[in-house]
C-alpha cells in the first residue's frame, strides 16, 4: 500500500508563516512554528482525534466558531490565531472547568512535577477559580489492577486510557461508566484490568489518575534521571527510558521509536525492571564446592573456568541465549573457535539450518520492516503468536488492520488472539508448519496463470490433509494473499524452521514468499520472529555451528544445540558453556539435557538467576549483567542494529560479560585485544562485512537498519527459490491420543517469576483442549490432569478453548514447573484425569 507522502503547504500561526505537510493536525503543525497549543485528549498514537477535552481551541480566520486544533488539518493559506482574547478566554474556561472537580493534591501526587495538567494550568490557566461548591468525590485510590492504581478524583476524563484499551490493544476491558459529571473509568464488570499492554495507560494519562503501583511514592521528578536503552525482553527490542534514582531502576518508560515500537511497551518489559534489584540475583562469581555453589573471587572463578575449558579443548560446546549481545556472541565464538578449537557454538534452540537458507531467509531483498506491517496490502502471520512471542508486533498488526485496512491472514496451530481481526484463518496440526506451507504454496500455484506453475489436481487436498488443515481454508487464505496487492509481508516464527525438517519448512516458506512478494520490492517480504531477543544478531555474528561471523562458511561444522545435548549426555563433551541460557528452562528435550548437564565435567554459566538447571548442575557461575547495566549492540529482526547503554552501575562483583569472555580467551592464549565495550563493538563491525563502517555514534539512540546501508552488499548471495519440495510427513493421527503443541506465553519469563509486581502473573501449567475432546475424555474446565508420553509426564489444569483444533492439546513451555519441554514436542500424548 503506498504510504502517504503529503505535499508541503504554507499557513500562518500567530502571524508567522510556517510550512507543514498538508493534512497535519494544527496542534502538531503549530509546533513547526514553535507555537504550542495545549492539548489533553489529543494523542496521535491513539488514532483519530476525539475532540473531547476542548483544551486546544483556536481561532481560524474565516470560521466563526473556535476550532479544535487537534482535529483540524492544516490547509494552504490557513491563518490561525492562538493568542487572541477569545482563545485565551476559552482556554481559561476549559482549565477552570477541568479543575473544579480536580482535587489539586499535587503535593502527594506521583505525577506532580511531570504533569501536563499542572504545566498547562501554569501556562494557560486563569490563575484562580470561582468555584466554591463541593467537589465530586470518589474513594481513592483503588487498584485498577495489581499494577495500576486509579484515582478517579484526579481523572479529567480525557478518554485516552479507554481508547487505548478499545482501539490499540483491543482488549476491550476499559470503559467509561455512568454519564456526564458522574462518568468514571472502570472495567465493564469491575474485574481488575489485567492485559498484556495495560501499563501503557499509565504513561498516556495526562494527570495522576493512573499511577504505577510499583512506582508509587518511590521518587519525585527532581530525584530521578532518565537513561535511554533497549528492552531485552523479547525480539521486539522496544526502545525504553529507565527512570533511575541512586543506581536503581525505578520505572521503565517508552522511548518512542516508530520504526520499532510505536511508543508502546508490554507489561513484561515495563514492570520487569524489578528483577534487576531482587535478592535472588547472582552478583558474585560462584563455584561448586562439595555440591554447593559458593561465592568466590573473580580470579578463582576465571582460573577454574580457564582450566576446565583448556582441559576440554574441542570437547566443549557453547550455547548463547537470546539476551546475549552481538559483542558477547562474537567473543564467545572467538573463545570457542579461536582459543579452544571447538566448532560447537549455537544460538538456535533446535536443529541446524543450512547456511544458504539463513542467507536466503534474511536476504536484504526479502527483508520486510516493522512499519511495513502497517502499510502492507496483506500480512500473513505464520506459526507464531505475536502477543506472546514479540508483543510489540501484535499492536502493530492490529494498527495496520484497523487504520489502513491491511488484510490479515493467520496460520497457526494454536488459536491466535489475532484471529478475530483476520480475513482468513487456517489451523493446522501442531508441528505441521512445513506441510501447511507446502499446501499454501500449492494453493497459490493453482491460481497462478503461468502454465509451468499450475498445481496438479488434488495436491492441495493431499498437502492440507498432511498438515491436518482444511483445504478450502488454505485456498481462502491463499486468495487473501494473492488478491491483496503487491505489498505482502509474511511474519513467521523461528520455530517453523526448527527441528529435523526445519530446512524443508524454510524452503517451502521461501517458495510461498516468492509467489506473493517480489524480491527487492519495498514494503514486502519476510519478517522473522526469532525465538530469542537477539536471535538475528547472534546468527550474524557467527554463533552458529555452521557459520562464522558474517554468515561465512566454516569448517569443520560444529554440533547444533540438540546434538550437543545428546553428545554431552553420551559423555563426549567435557565442558559446556551456557551464556544466558538454561537448557532445562529454554530448550526442548529436557530429559536429554538433564543427562547432559549431569554428565559434563564442567558446566560454566553466565546468569543473573539460578534457574533449575544451573542451580543443580552448574559448576561455575559468572554473574550476568541485568540489561540496564549492559553496553553493546543487538540486532532487531528487521535488521536494525540497536545500541544498549548502561543506565545503572553493576552491583557488587558483577563484571561486564564481554570483559569476562575476553579475559577467558586471553587466559587460554587467544588474545582478542578488547579492552572496552566500545572496542568490542568496533571488532564486531569490522568482522562482519554487512556491518562494515557502522559506529556506535552512528547508531546513536535510534539504531540503523543495516539492510538499508550500502554495506548490505556484503550479505552472502543466496538462492531464494523456487525450490523443489519433498512430500512433507503426515501429522500424526491422534487415534484417541492427542497431538501435543507447545507455546510460550508472554508471562513465561524469569522477570515475571522474580519481579514482585509481576509475580501474580506467574504461569501454572494448563492443558488447552477443544471442548469436544474434553467431553470425550470426561474432562471439564478446571480439572487437574496428567499429560504424558514415553514415561515422562506433566501435571496441568484443563482449559477449554473452542479455537483449539480437535485432536490436539497445548501445553506451555519455558515455565519453572511442569514445563512442556518435559515431553516430546510434536508427538502424541495421553491426557488422563488425576
Amino acid at each position: 500500500m503506498p504510504r502517504p507522502a503529503p505535499d508541503t503547504i504554507a499557513f500562518t500561526v500567530d502571524g508567522l508563516e510556517v510550512n507543514a505537510p498538508a493534512g497535519m493536525m494544527l496542534a502538531d503543525a503549530a509546533k513547526l512554528g514553535d507555537v504550542e497549543i495545549p492539548v489533553f485528549c489529543y494523542e496521535p498514537k491513539l488514532g483519530e482525534p476525539v475532540g473531547a477535552c476542548r483544551m486546544c481551541l483556536v481561532e481560524i480566520e474565516g470560521i466563526p466558531k473556535l476550532q479544535t486544533a487537534c482535529s483540524t488539518p492544516v490547509r494552504d493559506g490557513m491563518a490561525v490565531n492562538t493568542q487572541t482574547a477569545r482563545v485565551k478566554e476559552a482556554q481559561e474556561a476549559v482549565l477552570e472547568f477541568l479543575l473544579i472537580n480536580h482535587p489539586l493534591d499535587c503535593p502527594v501526587c506521583d505525577k506532580g512535577g511531570e504533569c501536563p495538567l499542572q504545566d498547562i494550568t501554569y501556562g494557560w490557566g486563569p490563575g484562580r477559580s470561582r468555584f466554591i461548591e463541593p467537589k465530586r468525590h470518589f474513594v481513592k485510590p483503588l487498584a485498577l489492577s495489581p499494577l495500576i492504581a486509579i484515582d478517579r478524583e484526579r481523572c479529567i476524563l480525557c478518554y485516552r486510557c479507554v481508547r487505548f484499551s478499545q482501539e490499540i490493544s483491543e482488549d476491550y476491558q476499559l470503559v467509561l461508566q455512568e454519564r456526564g459529571a458522574d462518568s468514571y473509568v472502570s472495567t465493564f464488570d469491575g474485574h481488575p484490568y489485567v492485559a498484556p499492554f495495560s501499563g501503557n495507560i499509565i504513561e498516556l494519562c495526562p494527570v495522576g489518575a493512573l499511577t504505577s503501583q510499583p512506582y508509587r511514592f518511590r521518587a519525585r521528578p527532581w530525584d530521578i534521571e532518565g537513561s535511554g536503552s533497549v528492552c531485552l525482553g523479547c525480539p521486539g527490542q522496544c526502545n525504553v527510558e529507565y527512570t533511575v534514582r541512586d543506581e536503581r531502576v525505578l520505572r521503565v518508560l517508552s522511548r518512542q521509536h516508530d520504526g520499532v515500537d510505536d511508543g508502546w511497551l508490554c507489561d513484561r518489559g515495563r514492570f520487569g525492571y524489578q528483577s534487576f534489584h531482587v535478592d535472588e540475583r547472582v552478583t558474585h562469581p560462584l563455584v561448586r564446592v562439595d555440591g554447593e555453589l559458593i561465592p568466590v573471587a573473580w580470579d578463582r572463578a576465571l582460573d577454574e573456568a580457564a582450566a576446565a575449558l583448556g582441559g576440554a579443548g574441542s570437547d566443549s560446546g557453547a550455547l548463547a541465549g537470546g539476551k546475549t549481545t552481538n559483542e558477547e556472541g562474537w567473543l564467545l565464538q572467538e573463545l570457542f573457535r579461536g582459543a579452544l578449537g571447538s566448532p560447537n557454538v549455537d544460538s538456535r534452540a533446535d536443529g541446524m539450518l543450512p547456511r544458504e537458507l539463513h542467507a536466503a531467509l534474511h536476504a536484504p531483498a526479502l527483508q520486510a520492516t516493522v512499519p511495513d506491517l502497517e502499510f502492507a496490502h496483506a500480512v500473513l502471520v505464520l506459526d507464531c503468536e505475536p502477543v506472546d512471542d514479540q508483543p510489540s508486533l501484535d499492536l502493530r498488526i492490529r494498527k495496520g488492520v484497523r487504520r489502513n485496512g491491511v488484510k490479515l491472514a493467520v496460520a497457526s496451530s494454536r488459536p491466535s488472539s489475532l484471529d478475530a481481526n483476520a480475513a482468513a484463518v487456517v489451523r493446522y496440526a501442531p508441528g505441521a508448519g512445513e506441510a501447511f506451507c507446502a499446501a499454501l504454496n500449492g494453493a497459490l500455484g493453482e491460481s497462478d496463470a503461468g502454465p509451468g506453475s499450475a498445481t496438479r489436481k488434488g495436491v492441495v487436498e493431499e498437502l492440507a490433509e498432511a498438515a491436518g488443515a482444511d483445504a478450502d481454508a488454505v485456498r481462502a487464505l491463499a486468495a487473501v494473499l494473492a488478491d491483496a496487492g503487491e505489498d505482502v509481508v509474511i511474519v513467521y516464527g523461528e520455530r517453523l524452521t526448527h527441528g529435523a525438517r526445519g530446512e524443508d519448512a524454510a524452503r517451502a516458506l521461501l517458495n510461498v514468499c516468492g509467489r506473493v512478494a517480489e524480491a527487492g520490492h519495498d514494503g514486502a517480504g519476510l519478517l522473522e520472529v526469532p525465538a530469542g531477543t537477539n536471535g538475528r544478531g547472534l546468527r550474524e555474528v557467527g554463533v552458529l555451528p555452521n557459520a562464522a561471523p558474517g554468515l561465512a562458511p566454516v569448517s569443520p561444522v560444529g554440533l547444533a544445540s540438540a546434538e550437543l545435548g545428546a553428545s554431552a549426555a553420551a559423555g563426549a563433551i567435557s565442558a559446556l558453556y551456557l551464556l544466558h541460557v538454561d537448557p532445562l528452562r529454554d530448550l526442548p528435550g529436557r530429559a536429554t539435557w538433564r543427562a547432559a548437564l549431569q554428565r559434563a565435567d564442567h558446566v560454566i554459566a553466565h546468569a543473573d538467576f539460578l534457574s533449575e538447571g544451573l542451580w543443580e548442575y552448574a559448576t561455575i557461575v559468572f554473574p550476568a549483567e541485568s540489561y540496564a547495566e549492559k553496553e553493546g549492540t543487538i540486532t532487531h529482526p528487521d535488521g536494525r542494529v540497536q545500541r544498549l547503554r548502561p543506565a545503572i552501575a553493576r552491583p557488587d562483583a558483577v563484571r561486564a560479560e564481554w570483559n569476562v569472555i575476553a579475559d577467558l580467551s586471553k587466559r587460554l592464549g587467544h588474545d582478542v585485544s578488547v579492552l572496552s565495550g566500545a572496542m568490542a563493538s568496533a571488532r564486531v563491525f569490522e568482522a562482519i562485512p554487512f556491518y562494515a563502517g557502522l559506529t556506535l555514534d552512528e547508531l546513536g539512540g535510534r539504531g540503523l537498519r543495516w539492510p538499508a546501508r550500502p554495506a548490505a552488499a556484503g550479505w552472502p548471495a543466496a538462492d531464494t527459490g523456487p525450490f523443489g519440495l519433498e512430500t512433507p510427513p503426515h501429522a500424526p493421527t491422534p487415534n484417541g491420543a492427542l497431538r501435543l503443541g507447545t507455546f510460550r506465553s508472554i508471562w513465561a519469563a524469569q522477570e515475571v517469576e522474580v519481579a514482585p509486581a509481576l509475580k501474580f502473573l506467574r504461569q501454572r501449567q494448563r492443558a488447552e483442549l477443544h471442548p469436544v475432546d474434553a467431553e470425550r475424555m470426561g474432562l471439564a474446565h478446571g480439572d487437574r490432569v496428567t499429560v504424558g508420553s514415553n514415561g515422562s509426564r506433566v501435571q496441568a489444569t484443563v482449559v477449554l478453548r473452542s479455537g483449539v483444533p480437535e485432536g490436539s492439546v497445548f501445553l506451555e513451555a519455558g515455565i519453572a514447573e511442569e514445563s512442556a519441554s518435559e515431553l516430546d514436542g510434536g508427538g502424541l500424548v495421553e491426557v488422563s484425569p488425576q
Binding site: K65, L66, F97, I100, E133, R179, G180, A181, S183, G190
Partner: protein, 441 residues
C-alpha cells in the same frame, strides 16, 4: 386561521395505524409514484423545491441533506431519529402512534432518494406502545411489498429495523445516535466527517426526524412547488407544535409556519389559566432561549425566531405563567441537562454540574447576586465551545433567563437568604452520597 392541515389531516381516523385504512386514505400512492415514475434525483429536486427544513431541531434543508450523500457504490443508510427526548416535545409520538405507515412511506421515499438500502428507526426506550405499533406496521408494510426486496417491481429494495433506545437524551443527537445504534456508548462524534460521508458503520447516512420523513409523501403528492406555497418564503409548509406548560389546552397542533405565536398559545392552546399572564415561553423546546410575554406577537417561523435570538427547534412551545418562579424553571432545566450530559467534553460535563450547584445555592439562600455574574459567565464559556450542542442547549436558555429575569433572580436570592439561617456561612459540606465507587474498581 392556522392554515391547511397536512400531517394531521386524517390523524384521528380510527384504525389509521393499520395498512388497510392508511391505503384507503391514499397511503403509499406517493411511494408508487416515486418508484414507478421518478428518478432519485427527481425526488431530491422535489424536496429541494418544497423548501422543507428538518423538523428535528436544526432546521437544515432536507433536500440538500440528501444531495450530500456521495454517489458511490457502497452500502448507504437512512436513519429515522425517533428519540424525541427534548423536554416539551411529543409530536413524533402522536404521529408514530396514529399514523406509522406515513412514516414508513416517508422512509422508503427518502431512502430511494438517497440510494440507501438499509434503514433504521431509532426510537426512545420509553415509547413502548409506539414501538410496538411501528413494529406491527413494519410487518404489514413488508407483507404488502412496500419494504424488502424489489419494492413494487422497481428493483429498489430496502430493509427497515426498529431499534429501541435506553433512555438517553444524547442519543437523539445524530452522531450519538449512530454510536448507540452501532452498539457503543452513545457519545457524539467529532464532526467532520459528517454522517452524509461517514455515518453508520462508516457508510454514507441520512438522518432525519420522524416529522421530516412523514412530510415527504405529502410533498410528492402535492409537488414541491405547491408545498412551498404554504408557510413563508424561508419556512415552508406546516409544522406540528407541541404546546405544554401553563396553558388550558395543551397538545399537538399543526400550524402553518409564519402565523403569530399568540395565535398558537392563546388561539389554539387557550393561553394560561384565567387571571394568569405569560411570563416566558420556550418557542422550540427546552433548549431554546426563552422569550417573554412581550414577544407573543412575533411570527412563528425559523427566521423570525432566530432574529428574536431564539429558535424554532423541535417546535415545542412551553409556556410559563407568572405563578412560577424563574429560579425553579432554571433549576429544573439545568438538572435535566446535567443528568443528560454525556460527559465527553469538558465545558458541558463540568459546566452543567456547576450551574446546577449555583442554582441550588440561589434557591437555598446560599448565593449572592455576584453568583449571577459567575453563572452568566459560565454559560458564555459553554456556548460554542462544546463537542455537540447539548451544552449550548442548557447554556442558551439559562443565560437568557438570567439576562431577562435578573431582577427576579436577585429578589429570589434576597428572600431565600432571609429565610436561611445558614446564609453567609459558605457552602454546605460535601454530601456523602456523592462519594462513589466505594465498592471497588
Amino acid at each position: 386561521m392556522t392554515g391547511p392541515t397536512i400531517l394531521f389531516e386524517d390523524i384521528d381516523e380510527r384504525g389509521l395505524n393499520t395498512i388497510d385504512v392508511y391505503r384507503r386514505r391514499g397511503g403509499y400512492e406517493s411511494l408508487r409514484k416515486v418508484l414507478t415514475t421518478m428518478q432519485p434525483s427527481e425526488v431530491v429536486d422535489e424536496l429541494m423545491a418544497s423548501g422543507l427544513r428538518g423538523r428535528g431541531g436544526a432546521g437544515f434543508p432536507s433536500g440538500r441533506k440528501i444531495s450530500f450523500i456521495p454517489k458511490v457504490d457502497v452500502d448507504k443508510y437512512l436513519v429515522c431519529n425517533a428519540d424525541e427526548s427534548e423536554p416539551g416535545t411529543f409530536k413524533d409520538r402522536e404521529l408514530m402512534q396514529k399514523s406509522p405507515h406515513m412514516l414508513i412511506e416517508g422512509i422508503v421515499i427518502g431512502a430511494f432518494a438517497a440510494g440507501a438500502t438499509k434503514s433504521f428507526i431509532y426510537i426512545r426506550g420509553e415509547y413502548v406502545e409506539q414501538a410496538d405499533i411501528i413494529d406491527a406496521a413494519i410487518v404489514e408494510a413488508r407483507e404488502a411489498g412496500f419494504l424488502g426486496e424489489n419494492i413494487l417491481g422497481s428493483g429498489f429494495g430496502l430493509t427497515l429495523h426498529l431499534h429501541r433506545g435506553a433512555g438517553a437524551y444524547i442519543c437523539g443527537e445524530e452522531t450519538g445516535l449512530l454510536d448507540s445504534l452501532e452498539g457503543k456508548r452513545g457519545n457524539p462524534r467529532l464532526k467532520p466527517p459528517f454522517p452524509a460521508n461517514q455515518g453508520l458503520y462508516q457508510g454514507p447516512t441520512v438522518i432525519n426526524n420522524v416529522e421530516t420523513l412523514a412530510t415527504m409523501p405529502h410533498i410528492i403528492k402535492m409537488g414541491g412547488a405547491e408545498y412551498a406555497k404554504i408557510g413563508t418564503e424561508t419556512s415552508a409548509g406546516t409544522k406540528l407544535v407541541s404546546v405544554s406548560g401553563n396553558v388550558q389546552r395543551p397538545g399537538n397542533y399543526e400550524i402553518e409556519l409564519g402565523i403569530s405565536s399568540r395565535e398558537i398559545i392563546y388561539g389554539l392552546a387557550g393561553g394560561p389559566p384565567e387571571g394568569r399572564a405569560v411570563k416566558m415561553w420556550f418557542p422550540g423546546g427546552s433548549s431554546s432561549p426563552v422569550l417573554t410575554g412581550d414577544d407573543l406577537d412575533i411570527a412563528y417561523d425559523f427566521n423570525t425566531l432566530a432574529q428574536a435570538k431564539s429558535m424554532l427547534g423541535s417546535g415545542a412551545i412551553i409556556v410559563v405563567d407568572d405563578s412560577v418562579p424563574v429560579v425553579s424553571v432554571a433549576l429544573k432545566l439545568a438538572k435535566f441537562y446535567k443528568h443528560e450530559s454525556c460527559g465527553k467534553c469538558t465545558p458541558c460535563r463540568e459546566g452543567t454540574r456547576w450551574t446546577v450547584s449555583m442554582l441550588e445555592r440561589v434557591d437555598q439562600g446560599l448565593a449572592t447576586p455576584m453568583d449571577l455574574d459567575i453563572m452568566a459567565s459560565v454559560q458564555e464559556q459553554i456556548i460554542g465551545n462544546c463537542l455537540c450542542v447539548l451544552g449550548d442547549a442548557m447554556a442558551m436558555p439559562i443565560g437568557s433567563m438570567v439576562a431577562k429575569f435578573r431582577d427576579e433572580f436577585e429578589a429570589h436570592i434576597e428572600a431565600a437568604r432571609a429565610r436561611n439561617p445558614w446564609a453567609g456561612e459558605g457552602p454546605p459540606d460535601p454530601d456523602p452520597v456523592l462519594v462513589q465507587g466505594a465498592s471497588g474498581a
